[in-house]
């Protein structure tokens, strides 16, 4: 069993100029649980996810990882870069566009963080990288550059890069949205395995099937607001809020073709 983090989000607001991207968000994410963020595009779900590791700076409110405030030492006072990096080490992130480093092989991509951030020796880092890649089923692709991998394989390397750092929390920002439909399954399977091991996961996704089967709680957002937080069954199958009903109706209509 991995050590798993909890996340507490309290009254978080985020503005882009006049536009309010997040409005008073309150959300608790329990250790070892999987939370899926769903909602129409532009609803603020990616922004909220990115606030958790402070890639996106929130303007007010608090985001706490295991009780520790991220990004600020006190309200309004930014934390030093070194301390922020320290906290980010234990938060893994997987991006929609994979964001692998194209000048490094799959194994070098995974080893890079271990060497530069964890200060491991090159050989130790490469051994760990090989393990992580084997875990996502890519033992035979270690020497390939990203340009020689399919989208699904690239995303699995990106997941390996994150888990090799032994995070206690994993953030997924639409991990399958940039993939061809036939490659989605292999990535979701890796994520499912990870969830089964007790990793705390926060996943922004459009894959309602994944949310229904793997999530412990589903969060519905719209226009920067948190509309509903509940079990997958209650949000996805018996929604009470009209906005969720209409979103799901559109989703099912599109998928019925």
């Amino acid at each position: 069993m991995l050590a798993a983090s909890s996340v507490e989000i309290r009254k978080v607001n985020k503005y882009y100029g006049d536009f309010q991207a997040l409005k008073d968000i309150d959300l608790s994410i329990l250790p070892g649980k999987v939370t899926c963020l769903i909602g129409p595009s532009g609803s603020g779900k990616s922004t909220l996810l990115r606030c958790i590791n402070f890639l996106e700076e929130y303007d007010s409110g608090e985001v706490r990882i295991d009780g520790q405030l991220i990004g600020y030492d006190a309200p309004g006072k930014r934390m030093p870069g070194r301390k922020l990096r320290e906290m980010r080490r234990s938060i893994g992130m997987v991006f929609q566009q994979f964001n692998l480093w194209p000048h490094m092989t799959a194994r070098e991509n995974v080893a890079e963080g271990l060497i530069r951030v964890r200060g491991m020796s090159k050989s130790e880092a490469e051994r760990r990288a090989a393990e992580a890649l084997a875990k996502v089923g890519l033992a035979d692709k270690m020497a390939n550059h990203p340009s020689r991998l399919s989208g699904g394989q690239q995303q699995r390397v990106a997941i390996a890069r994150a888990i090799a750092m032994e995070p206690k929390l994993m953030l997924f920002d639409e991990p399958t949205s940039a993939l061809d439909p036939e490659l989605v399954g292999e990535v979701l399977n890796v994520m499912k395995t990870l969830a089964g091991e007790g990793m705390t996961m926060v996943v922004v996704t459009h894959e309602m099937g994944f949310a229904a089967h793997v999530a412990d709680q589903v969060v519905f957002m719209e226009k920067g607001e948190l509309v509903g937080v509940d079990s997958p069954d209650r949000i996805l199958h018996h929604p009470e809020d009209a906005r969720i009903q209409s979103f799901l109706r559109t989703y099912h209509e599109r998928n019925s073709f």
């Binding site: 890639l55 990096r85 906290m87 080490r89 893994g92 566009q97 964001n99 550059h145 340009s147 750092m165």
Partner: protein, 220 residues
Amino acid sequence: MEWSILQQYGPSLLKGFGNTVLCWALGTVFGMALGLVIALIQRYAPRWVTWIVQAYIEVIRGTPFLVQLFVLYYGGPLVGLRLDALPAGLLGLTIYGSPYFAEIFRSGFRAVPLGQIEAARAIGMSELNIVRRILLPLGLVSALPALVNFSIILTKETVILSIITVPELLYQVQRMSAETFRYLEANLVLALFFWGLVEAISRVGHRMEARITKHLIERT
């Protein structure tokens, strides 16, 4: 041109060519280094520093190389900067090239997708490591074609150094033609020589580019 003339002036022409290569090579290396520093300053320094650097870029890019050399070589001594022609030419070439190199690096850095830098931030890499391991290698590769092109442009600029009496190739050719009265032939041969040189360098440069970027190109 007669054989005897070439025999007589061969050594000085060769020396001139040596100086041309020297000025070009050092001017390119120093200019690139200064340009890289400028590009990094513009990316990371506080706003007011980037303004000063921007003013420097505008001034150098807005004025002719020849006038810059005049200021440096003839004006310099009035403020205590006494340089021989060759070092003055080298310094001039470095200064002249730096803002162009800086712009090339800057757009190279901009071509690095933000996501790849965010991925490094997300695993907790320090800014210094991000620059060293992600920004520089990727930015340099995408800047490579423009770097090669501008280095080729600089080979041509070296002839301007002859005007402030740097003993490079054109200077020697001028001296030779003044003594032999073979102005047209000498300059024509020089033109053909430069044509060949620039063509050759650009072929080699572009082949290098193709090799370095090979693994970055998506196979379809």
